[in-house]
Symmetry: C2
Subunit: 252 residues, 2 copies
């Protein structure tokens, strides 16, 4: 069998509000989950401040080595929204008002006070870009080749991801099965290592927790090959039961 | 006045579970908030998978250009916990069992089944390291110069941050004031830009929201200089009220 191609994406989260701790990021998890379904692996995330050089550096480093690059944040109408200009600088292209984006905003603001200059800022895109639909708040996302520039507000980002569903080439999605056990992970560490070794192409993650006054762990078995996942999960369950550890299929 | 030194830190979040979307990260926000209080600015975050090369690259890039580097995740007893080895490789030092960590774990596991080899893995540190106390679950964090290696489980990370409080040199903490307004940020974009321009050394962030069927925004005024923050916040409030926008001190 030829080696399976793995498609990867990176995400740059842009925003002082994340780095100051004011805002809890929600986009890493939702972009990751959406990418999984498209058969694309999120390989790396960077969170950078609203500063041109920081955005340029992250965008150029990550687009060079991933199939896709996503950004979230910094595409609103205010002075701290510098993502479009920074990305245009990273790509060495100009910034233009996209006519379709202007039309969309014009329509959206007809009943909301009209399209002011500040609002028209949200139609600015790096030259050559197309738009990603935003049914929720007018201002569209931006696509330029394999670069996807999205909103920072999570439910708007979600809408943009919806609009992109099925549009991106990917591989087989990673399948996972979770097995929970009321065992300290340190008690079954060797067993986990040996099980993973016995199943090539499968990764086992171990995620301990402390709940209801007891320690336990969830073991997540992952691979793009569902048959391998099933076999490894069954083997892991058997090995845990063999050492007297009850398991809970699906996790605890 | 001499220019004020700004102390910076970076954070590397290590873990496949974050990049797969399985786990919602909580450490970025809590490390950021803790750093603020220490007068240290979180300048950049990277999220990397449980893979040696990815950890080495991120650690070496970020420790070179920040005063402090923190990592979270990957210091447990299982096969997917490779942070200590990867960081030792990044620094070009060996890995040793720290005698104090062994003693701590020995004590902790006395009533919990004894110190097995897997558990003793949690005493492994890059050569030259000291320990960060972990009152909650035995296995300590690790300090090596300006590098801080911490747990991934958020409440354990929190305990380690507690143990480090007041230990790190920083500058003046950034002070912030939030002003909320039931205004679309696009309506006051020019006003915000002009207000920020009129107050050197102060940054204004604009964070829109949609709530109770209405749009609004919170404006966050930030600077290490409290007097500048107060003056800018008062000015911004006055300018918003002057254009008929009611404001809510402290944010909405």
């Amino acid at each position: 069998m030829a080696e399976e191609r793995i498609w990867t994406a990176a995400l740059v989260v842009i925003g002082d509000e994340i780095l100051s701790g004011r805002t809890q990021d929600k986009n890493v998890a939702q972009v990751a989950q959406w990418l999984n379904v498209q058969g694309i692996r999120l390989a790396e995330v960077r969170v950078v401040p609203d500063r041109t050089e920081a955005i340029v550096e992250a965008v150029n480093a990550l687009r060079a080595r991933n199939d896709y690059l996503f950004t979230t944040g910094g595409i609103g109408p205010t002075h701290d929204d510098i993502t479009v200009d920074a990305i245009a600088a990273a790509l060495g292209v100009g910034v233009v008002h996209h006519p379709d984006a202007l039309a969309v905003l014009e329509r959206y603001y007809t009943t909301r006070g009209g399209l002011t200059e500040a609002r028209a800022r949200m139609a600015r895109v790096p030259e050559g870009a197309t738009l990603i639909e935003n049914r929720l708040s007018g201002a569209p996302g931006i696509r330029l080749g394999n670069l996807f520039i999205m909103a920072g507000v999570p439910h708007i980002t979600a809408g943009m991801l919806d609009a992109l569903t099925g549009q991106l080439e990917g591989g087989r999605p990673v399948v996972s099965k979770t097995i929970g056990s009321w065992a300290a992970e340190s008690e079954v560490a060797d067993l986990l290592r040996e099980t993973e070794r016995a199943h090539e192409g499968v990764a086992i993650g171990s995620y301990p927790f402390f709940r209801e006054g007891r320690v336990g762990a969830n073991f997540v078995v992952r691979s793009p090959d569902e048959a391998l996942v099933d076999a490894c999960a069954a083997d892991l369950t058997a090995r845990l039961e063999a050492v007297g550890r009850a398991t809970v299929a699906g996790g605890i």
